[in-house]
């Protein structure tokens, strides 16, 4: 039972990672991060049910709250990035190149 939830969670998380790594559009990257957060939430809730405690539920709530804040910040950053270069391709922003 629990394995099904965890497998789903891992699949979601891996999709998120692949999205972050492979996609060049910053919007997609942000959405992939949200996906990873929700994969983690799923795991939390599953474990909460398994152990019959509320800890996992509370953590999931907090992650959702943080994710909301992060989405707000992330969107603001994306707007600023767009103002800088006029594009949303993450390869354009490579100032850290050595």
């Amino acid at each position: 039972m629990i394995e099904d939830y965890l497998v789903l969670s891992v699949i979601l998380f891996c999709i998120g990672i692949l999205g972050v790594i492979s996609r060049r559009n910053v919007f997609t990257v942000l959405m992939s991060i949200e996906l990873m957060l929700n994969a983690a939430n799923l795991a939390f809730v599953a474990f909460a049910r398994l152990n019959e405690t509320m800890d996992g539920q509370i953590l999931a709530m907090m992650v959702i709250a943080v994710a909301a804040a992060e989405a707000a910040l992330g969107l603001a950053v994306i707007i600023l990035l767009h103002r800088q270069k006029g594009r949303l391709d993450s390869n354009v922003f490579s100032l850290l190149k050595g």
Partner: protein
């Protein structure tokens, strides 16, 4: 008997304070200098004050019983480490008091003379500040209670000679002469420092933490092993050859003529060059135990005397002649202290300071009168224009040549006779020859400068006697040069050897007796040689001197036997080449290798790792995922 007094410190402190005050005044007012009278008044206070205190010390010491004649003063503990305990203290015994007497007396006279000689010169205040510092350093050297305190003065006179020799800094040659004096002295100083270090190393158990001063060293000297003692003597003598201008380190003294003439007088007569003799006499208790060290000292001294006298015969510059005569006379003094006739050597220092100061100041008057002309072949006939200078210079030359009854006769003959009496007949023989040469070159100078016809009419017409402030010291010194010899009249002339008796408690000396006949014959012989030298100089230079280019041996002599060139080619140039090699090759390639290698290493590492810095956010995300994965695996392993 109370040996501790509190006024000894005043002797060096007064000139040093004068140097400080004058130096400060000069520094603060060098744009618009204060009146010269103020400077000269302040400059005179220090030396005269020291002279007064010297007289006080002399009379105090006279009242003490002869075998315990000394005064000490301990100011504070300078440093104390292990067995080495050094007090900043002063020590006056008959030997140092004799030095004090002529250093302060002649020093004061030279100060007075300088007031006239330096009048109108630039940096008048600086000159007197250095002069006071010079005198103060010499007084510390003489009064120090141990080799370490002596070393302060030893270095101080070295510094001041450097400052004063290159006093006319606008001329590059003067600065180079100052450098030469300082560097050559440094070679000797190394010997001195090593000598003192070895002395302490040999004595440290005997001292056992007691003060490292002359009284304790003397008490413990018998515990030194033969090798250590000999090493100490020879190393200290290296120091003495540097400071007292002996072979092979005499080369700085003739070049020291670059400074103002009173400076030469101060270096040659009162301070600096006598330091080496003083030091050897001070350690007479060591040198007396090692005859080999004494022989080395005596032979180096007498050979230097011969070499310098030969060079002196062919020089053209009036001051260079006098400089070589100083080297030569210092050689006599070392011959004296070397054959363990310490009081004779010290007495020659005493008389020499009078007639050498006289000769230098007289030469200064001539140079002053002729507007800085120093070539004796451009002088001549000055007797009529400068009768007083002529008289004092003749007295000085007679004293230098050692003609009775002038000062040099008694002291030099005492050294020669002592050498003979102690069985060093070779040294005696060379000494007699040098006496003849000395007479020859000193009267060559007199005849060429004062007699004959003027060879440069224009400067002859402008010549005149210097002002009284310069002539009065000359007269006083001339009186001294005439009569100073009588202070130590030997028994041969039914005298009582006053100076030798006075010095006896400070020196470890064995008087050897020789027959009166030997003494008389030796004396007559040396007078005859001196007369021969004067006669030859008269014949050659008095009436019709010929200034023809020198050839053969004389040319060698005029060129100082190419000793400077030899040093330049075999020591200075290789040293410079060595320095170049280090700075051009070893320094950048070997010394800097670790430093440069480190920067290179980090550069290469940076080149390697910068590949990972792609700059794309996605790549960093990959790194993060890999890192987190590894961390997770590691954590799951350790569960």
């Amino acid at each position: 008997m109370e040996h501790t007094v509190n006024y000894l410190v005043c002797i060096p402190l007064l000139p040093l304070a004068g140097a400080f005050v004058l130096g400060m005044m000069h520094m603060l007012t060098c744009k618009n200098p204060l009146p010269e009278k103020l400077y000269s008044f302040l400059a005179m206070l220090g030396p005269l004050g020291s002279l007064i205190f010297t007289v006080i010390i002399f009379s105090t010491l006279r009242e003490m019983p002869a075998e315990s004649r000394y005064l000490t003063q301990n100011m504070f503990t300078w440093f104390s480490a292990g067995d080495l305990h050094v007090d900043m203290g002063l020590f006056a015994d008959p030997l140092s008091t004799l030095f004090l007497i002529f250093v302060t007396f002649i020093g004061s006279l030279i100060h007075i003379y300088s007031i006239g000689y330096m009048a109108g010169e630039e940096n008048y205040g600086k000159y007197f500040a250095y002069f006071n510092l010079f005198l103060g350093s010499m007084l510390i050297l003489v009064l120090g209670n141990g080799p370490v305190v002596m070393f302060i003065g030893w270095e101080g006179v070295g510094l001041c000679s450097y400052l004063l020799i290159s006093f006319y800094t606008k001329d590059r040659d003067n600065v180079l002469a100052g450098n030469k004096a300082f560097i050559v002295n440094r070679v000797g100083d190394l010997g001195f420092v090593l000598g003192v270090a070895v002395l302490f190393w040999g004595l440290h158990s005997a001292l056992g933490g007691a003060g490292f001063d002359y009284l304790n060293i003397k008490a413990g000297a018998s515990t030194l092993t033969a090798g250590t003692g000999l090493a100490v003597c020879l190393l200290l003598f290296i120091g003495a050859t540097g400071k007292s201008a002996q072979f092979p380190l005499y080369v700085w003294l003739p070049d020291a003529m670059a400074g103002p003439t009173p400076v030469s007088a101060l270096i040659h007569a009162a301070t600096m060059v006598t330091a080496g003799i003083y030091m050897v006499a001070r350690f007479s208790f060591l040198y007396a135990s090692y005859p080999f060290a004494g022989d080395v000292v005596a032979w180096v001294g007498i050979l230097t005397a011969l070499l310098a006298a030969i060079i002196g015969c062919f020089q053209r510059d009036i001051k260079k002649i006098l400089a070589y005569s100083t080297v030569s006379q210092l050689g006599y003094m070392f011959a004296g202290v070397g054959v363990a006739a310490y009081s004779a050597g010290i007495f020659h220092v005493f008389t020499h300071s009078f007639f050498k100061a006289l000769l230098f100041l007289g030469a200064g008057s001539v140079i002053y009168a002729l507007h800085h002309e120093q070539d004796i072949w451009k002088m001549g006939g000055l007797k009529k224009k400068m009768p007083l200078t002529w008289i004092v210079m003749v007295i000085g030359a007679l004293a230098l040549a050692g003609f009775p009854p002038f000062a040099g006769f008694f002291s030099k003959d005492e050294i020669l006779f002592m050498a003979l009496a102690k069985g060093h007949w070779m040294i005696w023989l060379i000494g007699v020859c040098v006496a003849g040469l000395t007479a020859f070159y000193s009267f060559r100078l007199i005849f060429l400068v004062f007699h004959g016809k003027p060879r440069d009419q224009k400067s002859y017409d402008n010549a005149h006697e210097p002002p009284p402030v310069m002539t009065v010291p000359l007269i006083i010194l001339a009186v001294g040069a005439t009569f100073a010899g009588f202070f130590n009249l030997p028994a041969f002339f039914s005298g009582d050897s006053m100076v030798s008796t006075w010095l006896a408690p400070s020196l470890l000396e064995h008087h050897s007796e020789a027959s009166r006949v030997t003494e008389g014959v030796a004396m007559v012989l040396s007078i005859a040689v001196v007369l021969l030298g004067i006669f030859y100089a008269w014949k050659k230079f008095a009436s019709k001197p010929e200034d023809k280019p020198l050839t053969g041996f004389a040319k060698w002599g005029e060129d100082k036997f190419y000793v400077d060139e030899f040093y330049n080619a075999f020591i200075v140039q290789p040293w410079i080449a060595f320095g170049r090699t280090i700075s051009n090759f070893i320094e950048p390639n070997i010394v800097d290798l670790p430093v440069k290698g480190t920067t290179w290493l980090y550069g290469v590492l940076g080149m390697l790792f910068k590949v990972f810095q792609a700059g794309y956010v996605r790549v960093y995300a990959i790194y993060m995922v890999i890192g987190l994965s590894l961390m997770s695996i590691f954590l799951s392993q350790s569960l």
